[in-house]
């Protein structure tokens, strides 16, 4: 299963990033209203959308953005989660109490509302950004930060729990007895011991981040057109649910496959890295 997930994920990455060599981004954003809402054909394998853009090309570029958002948001989440969890777990006392109450305060707000409110709040005038000769809607960055900032709480709790037990271990006492400083102990002695649960949790978070992006883009608060993501492609398809099913089928299917493959991979990693949960 994990192997299947891994292979599938690699195929999806090849599709999104390799596909860019076949279709240019200009082509993905090119609209030809005479070709609007065409069913899949040889010329447009996935059909075209209401303003005549090629859906295959848009799923390729949308995939890049969706996957990029997924991975970078998780990077932010992991850094935040580790930082908060490590400091709270290692130092304990008042710092732990403050950080954990803050974490819990964020946890009791339903994530989806938090996401939507923040997306709405920051949706004002966002300049476009140019990277490597390409233009992105600045909303990509906003979405990444928002997803990262609203999802680190579970990871922080996992890391804190690991730190609480590991800081009492003999090898940490031994490290302190050789004069190792607190920051060295936190980042070079305890942290590597927590990698197994962190890697598993982060992998599964990638799937959640991609889903979260799809939610908010679907509701029109996420990444703005013309930059394509799988989520905002679904948004445009709502009005044509029966009349043009290819509009939602392809991006929807890609989201499903991505999330599925990442979850399989995450489960596989959990089994491989955590002997306690190994299935018989």
């Amino acid at each position: 299963m994990a192997l299947f997930g891994g292979v599938l994920l690699i195929l999806l990455l090849v599709f999104s990033f390799g596909g860019a060599f076949i279709y240019s981004e200009k082509y993905a954003n090119f609209n030809d209203t005479s070709q609007r809402l065409q069913a899949p054909s040889a010329e447009h394998p996935f059909g075209t959308d209401p303003i005549g853009r090629d859906i295959l090309a848009r799923t390729i570029y949308g995939g890049q953005i969706s996957l990029f958002i997924g991975f970078v948001a998780v990077l932010i989440e992991t850094v935040l989660g580790i930082l908060v969890g490590a400091l709270a777990g290692y130092y304990g006392g008042a710092l732990d109490a403050i950080l954990m109450r803050f974490t819990e305060a964020l946890l009791i707000i339903p994530t989806i509302f938090l996401l939507l409110v923040m997306a709405k709040f920051f949706a004002g005038n966002i300049p476009e950004i140019h990277i490597g000769g390409r233009t992105f809607s600045g909303s990509v960055i906003v979405i990444i930060v928002i997803i990262g900032a609203t999802s680190w709480m579970y990871l922080a709790r996992i890391v804190r729990a690991e730190f609480l037990s590991l800081k009492e271990s003999e090898f940490i006492l031994a490290a302190r007895a050789t004069g190792t400083s607190n920051s060295e102990i936190i980042f070079f002695h305890i942290l590597p011991n927590t990698f197994a649960p962190v890697i598993v949790s982060s992998t599964l978070s990638v799937a959640n981040a991609i889903l979260a992006e799809a939610y908010i883009s679907f509701l029109g608060l996420g990444v703005q057109q013309p930059t394509a993501t799988w989520g905002n492609m679904l948004d445009t398809s709502v009005k044509y649910l029966d009349s043009a099913p290819w509009l939602w089928f392809f991006p929807g299917m890609l989201i499903l496959l991505t999330v599925l493959s990442i979850n399989f991979l995450g489960d596989g990693l959990r089994d491989a890295l955590d002997p306690r949960s190994r299935a018989v």
Partner: protein
């Protein structure tokens, strides 16, 4: 007499727990001269480890608290130093090795990484120099093929080998004092002997002072110069090692020596043990803490805790009764 290397006076360590305050160390005083080996013996839970860890300030505070005392190391009070200053002392001036080598090494870091840590932190060596030095250290503690083994992880080493690595780590910066907290307890007998021999050899070459915490009086006889006997957080007897075995003068020491297994004892005789258990340190004892288990107990023992009294040259004991004569002292 020259100033001792380490002079501990009236050290008291408490632990504040939800059940009450645990009096783990109750005002102990001792000294350590350069190049000398002092053994600290006593039952489990009598404050041996806690008192030594207090010196290095490795007691978690809270719940622990070092409530009084001074520990002068080369004239500086270790108990008044800042945390940063202590980091410079630990490993550089005073090193400690622990009981269980199986859990004292970080399982996810290579031996080389852990061994070079102190060298880089304290001596400011580059990674390359530190590795060169680490190879020498491993050679010194008798690990074959040291250069290759630097890249190995702790689980690739046996218990005895790991304790050798721990010793190499502790000695990496040539400290003046080595605190060994029951370093042989978790090892089997033949390995124990090797480790004791190794430390004794290194003591000669590096000329360091050793505080050896143990409950193995056999090891003590072999390598210590002086012995501190601890009970319930007090030092109850202090003597030169030969003196202690020849004329133990505290009932607790007598009982410990009597409890030693001997190869020349008849097989049908049971091993002797000390009746009862060490006192609950939550309750501040009234009178001598050993009184409830003592064969020599007199009325005064239950009322007043005896101070350390001179019973011979460099030999002190905290007992109201002279155990050889049974007379009140």
């Amino acid at each position: 007499m020259a100033e001792p290397l380490l002079q501990v006076t009236d050290l008291k360590t408490l632990f504040h727990t939800p059940e009450g305050t645990v009096h783990a160390v109750n005002g102990i005083s001792f000294h350590l001269r350069e190049g000398e080996t002092v053994a600290v013996v006593g039952e489990s839970g009598c404050g041996k480890s806690v008192s030594m860890m207090s010196l290095l300030r490795l007691i978690p505070t809270p719940p622990g608290e070092i409530s009084s005392g001074t520990a002068l190391y080369r004239g500086d009070d270790l108990l008044r130093k800042s945390e940063q200053e202590m980091e410079d002392v630990r490993g550089r001036e005073i090193s400690m090795i622990f009981q269980d080598p199986m859990t004292s090494l970080n399982p996810v870091l290579t031996i080389g990484r852990q061994l070079t840590e102190a060298l880089r932190v304290h001596l400011g060596l580059s990674q390359e120099e530190a590795e060169k030095r680490a190879v020498q250290l491993l050679e010194q503690v008798g690990i074959p093929d040291p250069a290759r083994r630097l890249g190995d992880y702790p689980h690739q080493f046996s218990g005895g080998m790991r304790q050798r690595v721990m010793i190499a780590m502790a000695l990496s910066c040539a400290p003046s004092v080595l605190i060994a907290d029951e370093p042989t307890t978790a090892l089997d007998v033949t390995i124990q002997a090797q480790i004791v021999e190794l430390v004794a050899r290194l003591r000669e070459t590096l000329h360091m002072a050793i505080i050896w915490i143990t409950h193995d009086l056999g090891v003590v006889a072999g390598m210590a110069d002086r012995v501190l006997v601890m009970y319930a957080g007090y030092i109850v007897e202090e003597a030169e090692v030969q003196d202690l075995y020849d004329s133990p003068s505290h009932p607790y020491t007598l009982a410990l020596l009597a409890a030693l297994p001997r190869v020349d004892r008849r097989r049908d005789q049971r091993l002797k043990s000390i009746p009862g258990a060490p006192p609950n340190l939550l309750v501040k004892p009234h009178g001598c803490p050993f009184a409830p288990r003592c064969e020599f107990v007199i009325e005064k023992c239950r009322e007043e805790n005896p101070p350390l009294m001179n019973v011979g040259k460099d030999h002190t004991s905290a007992c109201w009764v002279a155990v050889t004569t049974g007379l009140h002292r």
